[in-house]
Amino acid sequence: MASTILLIVISAVFSQNFILVKFLGICPFLGVSKKTNSALSMGIAVTLVMLLATLVTYPLYMYIMVPLKIEYLEIIFFIFVIAALVQMLEKIIGKISPALYRSMGIYLPLITTNCAILGVAELLLVNEVSEVVSGVAVGISMNLGWALLYALCSGLGFTLAMILMGGVREKLEKLPVAKCMKGFPITMVAACFMAMAFYVFALL
């Protein structure tokens, strides 16, 4: 039990990091990471939506779609749930805390087309925890609790990579870079070195 929790946390945050190892959610990683602050806001927003989306899509799939034998409609259902959730969250945050809305609101609509959210919902549709997280003992069946923990940790891993990238890019702005390497290419090369650092966790 405790070792499973630890393995899920380490794996989702570091060794199977969503951005740097699994390549999910690269668009915001490149688009919204110019400053550490905006990177942090985006990370929190993604974590929140990931958690909520898993909370809805996992039971929806397991308890409604499987008994009704309409699993093949999962893509349409999931994307609809995510779009609706994002819209709802935007309205709720706007009503409750206008300050938070101003700092986070502009990133929310972007999250609908974030691969990481749909990716986590799709990845979790397995029978055993060991199919998602390597190293976990075979025989622990997937349930909503594990799914939520995995979603939360994936979101944290996403946020971590975003903040790191924000810091690196703030420094990169001040450096002289060859003209054709400006913008995306140099960011990609920086991401390459970060991915190398995260790759070490997978070797342990």
């Binding site: 668009c27 093949y72 991915a195 995260f198």
Partner: protein
């Protein structure tokens, strides 16, 4: 006239607005699926098929879909196309289906497809949108396959699965190598297109000035854009 128009749409989709190298959209699929040339070619073609179908359908329905709910409508159309593609691949090309894994359903959230739907198909007639879909898709397929070939050759010394040379650089097959190769490819593309544009501009300037018979022009130095 028409040929010229379609040629321009195609050129825009393939080169000027190349989704992978110029706009840097749909990066997840590019990085995740480019471990081998065959995989990236399959991914590129899958995206092209979805892009063509969704562009045509959205263009047909562009006068029916109300403006306020257009994004959800587009997303549902794209999701339906991806679901169909998934069924077809599972039945007829199971190898590709297995190697694509989670990236197959993620075609739904590929920014290229929604981007073309929003920017082109929702404003243009069916045939134009079809040409745009194919051109953008092929531009993406070309770029993906290029990255795939580079990574496969450096990572395992093979070309489309055929062993060419006997070496292995593990760096290029894992995540870090993907970022590196993609970054360098974008830089190369920017460099080459920039040089080409420069040369074109100089040639145009010469053509304009030549009939006047003025003083001879300076030679092409490549330093003329300020």
């Amino acid at each position: 006239m028409n040929v010229k128009k379609y040629g321009k749409i195609a050129y825009d989709g393939l080169i000027t607005n190349n989704a992978t190298f110029k706009l840097v959209l749909g990066t997840c699929a590019t990085l995740g699926m480019s471990t081998s040339a065959a995989n990236s070619f399959g991914m590129g073609l899958s995206v092209t098929v979805v892009l063509l179908l969704s562009n045509v359908l959205i263009s047909m329905l562009r006068k029916v879909i109300p403006n306020t709910v257009r994004i959800p409508a587009f997303v549902v159309i794209i999701a339906t196309m991806v679901t169909l593609l998934r069924m077809v691949l599972e039945k007829y090309i199971p190898d590709l289906y297995d190697s694509m894994g989670v990236f197959l359903p993620l075609i739904v959230v590929n920014c290229v497809i929604l981007g073309r739907a929003e920017a082109f198909a929702s404003k243009n007639p069916v045939l134009d949108s079809a040409v745009d879909g194919i051109a953008t898709g092929l531009g993406l397929t070309f770029a993906l396959t290029f990255i795939g070939i580079v990574r496969e050759f450096l990572g395992s010394g093979s070309f489309f699965g055929i062993q060419v040379m006997d070496f292995k650089i593990g760096f290029f097959t894992n995540a870090a190598g993907a970022f590196f190769v993609y970054g360098i490819c974008i830089a190369l593309f920017v460099f080459v297109t920039h040089k080409m544009e420069q040369r074109q501009r100089v040639r145009k300037m010469r053509a304009l000035r030549a009939p006047a018979g003025d003083a001879p022009l300076p030679p092409v130095t490549g330093q003329e854009d300020k």
